[in-house]
């Protein structure tokens, strides 16, 4: 095979990988901070893809242009989900917490189906629809944008979580909520922030994805399943883990799709997952 093809494969693998990573980071952030699994995470992705698509179809606004707005919208949506739903069931049993976000998943899917129908919608002829020729290399622009956009977003997220005072408070609240609260940290607000940031991550992933992937009511399930694998592979609650595992999965599935068969592209991913979970149940970066 030619070197160019390999570069293209790797690029597309890393692009998908960063998108998986971004979705997984949102999931693991919410889980890490408050030990709640957001079962509606895939539907958050679906919503952001519809938002990107609708902005494009209605106003001709390109997904890459509306990305910051979709991210902001999803941030607010995350806050609302926390304040109106999750916070209310926090006092309840584990089951009520699970059913709350599970119920939200069912509701959002049904609502999308009802409003948009089951059709596939795709952004066609957007700014990023073409290819970029670099010398003899032909690089698909959407994948390139995914690499640049998602890695930038991940970088900003890292800076926010690991370099700012707010991020320090967020990590403190996630490690020991009681100790954090004695240090003046409003833990409730940190939980809301985790939901906001987690949803905004998905908002960015959805915007980037809508450049080359159609949206339909169940689109979230496909990606979020991989994101769950990334979270488990990386270690529950670990941002580093989600990032590394997301990129590994992205690369693995693209390479497997090319060298084995596109129908079996996720087989090595689940195989890797099984092996890691058997050898190291806490995942790559997880703690016991």
């Amino acid at each position: 095979m030619s070197g160019d093809l390999l570069v293209q494969l790797l690029l597309s693998g890393i692009g998908m990988g960063f998108i998986f990573a971004l979705i997984a980071i949102g999931l693991t952030l919410i889980y890490g901070v408050m030990n709640v699994v957001n079962f509606a995470h895939g539907e958050f992705l679906m919503l952001s893809m519809y938002a990107s698509y609708l902005a494009f179809a209605t106003w001709g606004a390109d997904p890459i242009v509306t990305l910051p707005f979709v991210a902001a919208l999803m941030f607010v949506f995350g806050l609302l989900v926390y304040y109106l739903l999750v916070r209310r069931v926090m006092q309840g049993s584990m089951n009520s917490q699970i059913f709350a976000t599970f119920g939200l998943m069912v509701f959002l899917q049904a609502a999308a189906q009802f409003i948009m129908g089951a059709d596939y919608f795709a952004v066609r002829g957007g700014l990023l629809s073409g290819v970029l020729e670099v010398g003899s290399l032909i690089l698909p622009a959407p994948q390139l944008a995914a690499v640049v956009g998602a890695s930038t977003a991940t970088g900003v997220l890292y800076w926010l979580v690991f370099r700012t005072a707010t991020g320090r408070s967020l990590r403190a609240a996630s490690q020991d909520r009681q100790a954090a609260s004695t240090l003046g940290i409003n833990v409730d607000r940190m939980y809301a922030l985790a939901w906001g940031i987690g949803a905004a991550c998905v908002g960015i992933a959805g915007s980037l994805l809508s450049n080359f992937y159609p949206v339909f009511p169940r689109v979230g399930a496909i990606f979020v399943l991989i994101a769950y694998v990334a979270v488990a592979l990386g270690g529950f609650g670990s941002i580093h883990g989600a990032l590394v595992a997301g990129v590994i999965i992205g690369l693995l599935q693209v390479l497997a799709g090319f060298f084995i068969s596109s129908q079996l592209k996720f087989v090595p991913v689940y195989l890797l997952y099984l092996i890691v979970v058997l050898v190291r149940p806490r995942g790559l970066f997880g703690r016991l």
Binding site: A165, T166, R168, S169, R171, A172, Q175, D176, Q178, A179, A180, S181, T182, L183, G184, I185, N186, V187
Partner: protein
């Protein structure tokens, strides 16, 4: 300064504290003693808002604080060093200390706080880039006390700072608590070891099964083995020595 009046509290309908009344005056070190499970931490957690009291009232500098959320306390001037230090083990010593200033601290007050913390525990300066979880037990306790001081509190609540420390570390921590107090910070301290608690404090209370059974000047309590007897043998408080109200 701190006035706990007839406070009752507990968990899920199980009452632990029964009309407990204690006070801490400005400039004092007050020790709270009592056997395991007698409710000392519960009482301290009530003061810092970690648990809601059922009845009674808690005043700090004349203001009711018993309905405030825990995160409002450092703003009021009360800092709480929890039992078993509760550092964030994955963060560095510096990050732990910075968190002590509260989430809205300015750079200037952080720098000032760090300077004071390092003056009190020079060892923390050497260890500042180290992960807190890798410190020894005594160092972690020092770091926790320093973290509690970062917000420049007027009242410091410390829950069992000496537990599990070597004699050398104990005396270092005790010395630091005296120094903190000399700088004008009032201290409410939980300590199981009677001799240690009485030598460090000006006044002391004994809590047993959720009730204050004895209280008074530490000097007076040192006399004889009364305190130990009440403490260990669970014998009733001799009527002549009931100086709770003093």
């Amino acid at each position: 300064m701190l006035d706990v009046r007839q406070v009752s509290a507990g968990y899920d309908g199980l009452q632990i504290l029964w009309e407990v009344a204690i006070h801490v005056d400005a400039g004092e070190i007050v020790a709270l003693m009592g056997p395991n499970g007698s409710g000392k931490s519960t009482l301290m957690n009530s003061v810092s808002g970690l648990i809601r009291i059922w009845s009674g009232e808690i005043l700090f500098e004349g203001r009711r604080i018993d309905a405030l959320p825990p995160h409002a306390m450092i703003g009021m001037g009360v800092a709480h060093v929890l039992e078993r230090h509760r550092l964030f083990p994955d963060m560095t010593v510096l990050e732990n200390l910075m968190l002590g200033c509260g989430p809205h601290a300015r750079k200037q007050s952080i720098a000032q706080g760090l300077e004071q913390a390092y003056a009190l525990f020079p060892l923390l300066k050497e260890r500042r880039t180290q992960i807190a979880g890798s410190l020894s037990g005594g160092e972690q306790q020092m770091c926790a006390i320093a973290r509690g001081l970062m917000s420049s509190p007027r009242l410091l609540l410390i829950d069992e700072p000496f537990i599990g420390l070597s004699p050398h570390m104990r005396s270092a921590v005790a010395k630091a608590i005296r120094a903190i107090n000399r700088d004008g910070v009032s201290v409410l301290l939980i300590e199981q070891n009677v001799a240690e608690a009485l030598s460090l404090s000006q006044r002391a209370y004994i809590l047993r099964e959720g009730r204050i059974v004895l209280g008074g000047r530490s000097e007076d309590l040192k006399v004889g083995q009364t305190v130990e007897r009440i403490f260990m043998a669970r014998e009733d408080v001799p009527s002549g020595l009931d100086i709770v109200s003093s």
